[in-house]
Symmetry: C2
Subunit: 130 residues, 2 copies
């Protein structure tokens, strides 16, 4: 992997993912579960849990890189716009820095929805395991 390398991965916030996330982590905050509540707050429907995107990032790092010998060291995410059920997201990640002395790679990334709107962005630092 080299500085500037780009990776693209598609994800759908399907009903299965949404229901599975709720049943796993029990975050039933009304913003995520009550359509009327969410609309009352100015959204167009139930807002999906932002941490579903962090699950997608787990898959990206664990399964989509040229090596499996990786470990996430730090992760940050900024939620820019709401994500709704059945949104189709594209993750675009780019290697921003490689620290060879410590076998560390830093990615910057963003998620875009089907309307080409950036809905989140952040950075992930991973370690390469010998």
């Amino acid at each position: 992997m080299n500085k500037g390398d780009k990776f693209t991965q598609s994800f759908t916030v399907s009903t299965d993912i949404y229901e599975g996330f709720k049943s796993l982590f029990k975050d039933l905050n009304p913003l995520h579960t009550n359509e009327e509540f969410a609309k009352g707050k100015g959204f167009t429907g139930k807002v999906m849990h932002g941490n579903i995107l962090n699950g997608f990032l787990s898959y990206f790092i664990g399964e989509c890189l040229p090596t499996k010998d990786v470990l996430i060291q730090t992760q940050e995410i900024k939620f820019l716009r709401p994500v709704y059920e059945n949104d189709k997201l594209t993750l675009i990640a780019e290697i921003e820095e490689i620290f060879e002395s410590v076998n560390t790679i830093e990615f910057k990334y963003y998620f875009m929805n089907q309307n080409m709107i950036k809905i989140a962005r952040g950075k992930i630092q991973i370690g390469l395991m010998p």
Copy 2:
């Protein structure tokens, strides 16, 4: 909520959570699924997905605060030590800053395991919705 307020919440990385996370997000990286592989990398067993902790943070913000009118704006996590299946974690979060002009609260937090070892720490910024 006030600056300095502390919150404590317990979580177990149960087999159900681990299996559920794998089936939801499909991150089957060998570090998370192959005991021999993980031991070969110097760990004492399969390493749990770090993003399980981000799911716990979703529950904490969505369900454990004095108000439900919240929305995560930014989130960061640094993974310090491995988490293993059935580890019992304690989340300790503290309000570090309140930005009243923009209805924003910043928490710093860490997770400790059953051996009182800090396994992760980070910050979460949330917005309070009117």
